[in-house]
Amino acid sequence: MSEPRKKLTEFIDRNIKWIFPLPMLIIMAFLLFFPGLFNLYMSFQRWIPGKTPPIYFVGVKNYLHIFMGDTRFWNSIFRVFYFTALAVPLALVLGYLIANLFNREFKGKRIFRTLILLPMVGTPVAVALIWRLMYNPMLGIANYLLEIVRLPPSNWIGSQATVIPSLALVSIWQGTPLVMLIILAALQSLPSQFLEAAKLDGASYFQYVRHIQLPLIKPHIIVALIFRLIDSLKVFDIIFVMTRGGPGRASETLNLYTFLQAFFYFEIGYASALAVILFGMVLMINLILIRIRVRAWSY
């Protein structure tokens, strides 16, 4: 080995602590950090295609217009919170219940646990199309199932009143398995003596759950909650494929509205400002949750 090369190897060897993360940091700088800053810069500009240069500075005008005069923006905020309020709590409760079902030994446990996880790796475009076909009011199986249990047929994603709950159902279907997996891992780390001790002390199963089990798995529930919230607030694929924001604008969430402003109307500056707001919203909610349970991250 030549002298300079040997020196270089020795140098790396002594400093792997910060040399090893370098490739990742470089990739993240070029793909995330600089584009993120550029997005912030663009949010103070207006983009006029065909002009040279195509941008000119408008200050906080984009933001002013968004907050003061854009009802479409406020509606999209309302819709994403409505969607989240339906999709996240239900996924958490369902995930918790299913995790409890799985928290015992039985034959074929592993294969069932794998099978129930499949919704989360199904290609979103494909599953959105399948749900769209199932929701079809004329020939979909969803209305057929309603008919079997003697309920009136629904228009599902076809009517303004039911489109958000119908989309939330797809999101619950996709999201519950991950919640279940995280909570199951937590439940399995609880020693079984806890339940026995509680029983010996005369506690009912319900009391055990409320005073012992739930407090102990709280950090994991918060982790699951954080991931579901992130995915809900930035939901895109299923809505874009199933309704593209329709009928009318009844399912146009903030992420979708931003996308349309950027790539359908080419209001790049305005869309950048919307993206900054969405980013701020997701970040704030996460910071609050992380504060609630800092240690929850590093388990």
Partner: protein, 277 residues
């Protein structure tokens, strides 16, 4: 007598739980089952109401999909992009994860996670502008680079978990024998985390393969990926529901089969990252 009835009660409640597990699993799998079933139907069988369960199965839909359309080319595009993004993420993510796990660099791990938290739309607009200026829209390079944003936090977080499980004593033993830090990493630690590398590759591959939003903006006729192709399938007004189901089945199947293969490392990989998105 009391004991006996208690035993029976316990058995019954266990049985009830297993039955519920089967029922719930079936419920969650139903959309896939329905898609699979529909992909073997003719269009007349799909568009009848009430839905038919028994029909004459046909392979015609898959034949049309793979013979008459460019579906194979779209698959190759997706394959190339997913492999590229997975490789980039694995190479850089594994090194970073080692440093994070060994030197307890919590901040770096949160930084890696930030790529999972921030809405992609905030990067997509700048990317579109940059890649347009560099004439890289509709090239595999731009897709591979952007998909790395999905695969990188995944592989980093999965590998952190696996590196933390390697006992430090093993590495110290190597050092006492005179190995350098790099040799210890390459010869002792890395071979021990091979399952992690496999799990990280497969998850990376699946989530890059599934991504739709980036290709929607950055792909074009030359680089159309399968999710985009399937999406265009409907937007051009065709109502070939059977063909659509066949296409959906064809693109979902690889991910589902991969999942069954890595069952063993599944829980670790998934709970570490909470991934998807």
């Amino acid at each position: 007598m009391v004991l006996l009835s208690k035993g029976i009660w316990k058995k019954a409640s266990n049985l009830l739980c297993v039955v519920s597990v089967v029922f719930v699993t079936a419920l969650f799998l139903f959309p896939f089952f329905w898609m699979f079933l529909n992909s073997f139907k003719r269009n007349v069988d799909i568009t009848t109401y009430p839905p038919v369960w028994i029909f004459h199965p046909t392979l015609e839909n898959f034949k049309t999909l793979f013979m008459e359309q460019d579906f194979v080319r779209f698959c190759l595009n997706s394959l190339l992009v997913a492999l590229g993004a997975t490789f980039l993420a694995l190479a850089s993510g594994t090194l970073a994860a080692y440093s994070i796990a060994r030197f307890r660099q919590q901040r770096l791990s949160l930084l890696a996670l930030s790529a999972r938290i921030i809405p992609y739309i905030s990067f997509l607009i700048p990317w579109f502008i940059f890649f347009s200026m560099l004439h890289l829209v509709d090239t595999h390079i731009s897709l591979i680079l952007t998909h790395t944003v999905i695969t990188l936090p995944l592989s980093t977080w999965i590998m952190i978990g696996f590196f933390e499980d390697v006992p430090r004593e093993l590495e110290d033993a190597g050092r006492i024998d005179g190995c350098s830090n790099i040799t210890v990493f390459l010869r002792i630690t890395l071979p021990l985390v091979t399952p992690g590398l496999v799990a990280a590759s497969i998850f990376g591959f699946i989530f890059s393969w599934n991504n739709f939003m980036f290709a929607l903006v950055l792909a074009g006729p030359n680089t159309k990926t399968v999710p985009l192709a399937v999406f265009h399938f409907i937007s051009y007004g065709s109502l070939d529901w059977a063909g659509l189901n066949a296409a959906a089945t064809a693109i979902t199947l690889p991910a589902l089969i991969f999942m069954l293969f890595i069952q063993k490392y599944l829980v670790k990989g998934l709970t570490m990252t909470g991934l998807k998105g």
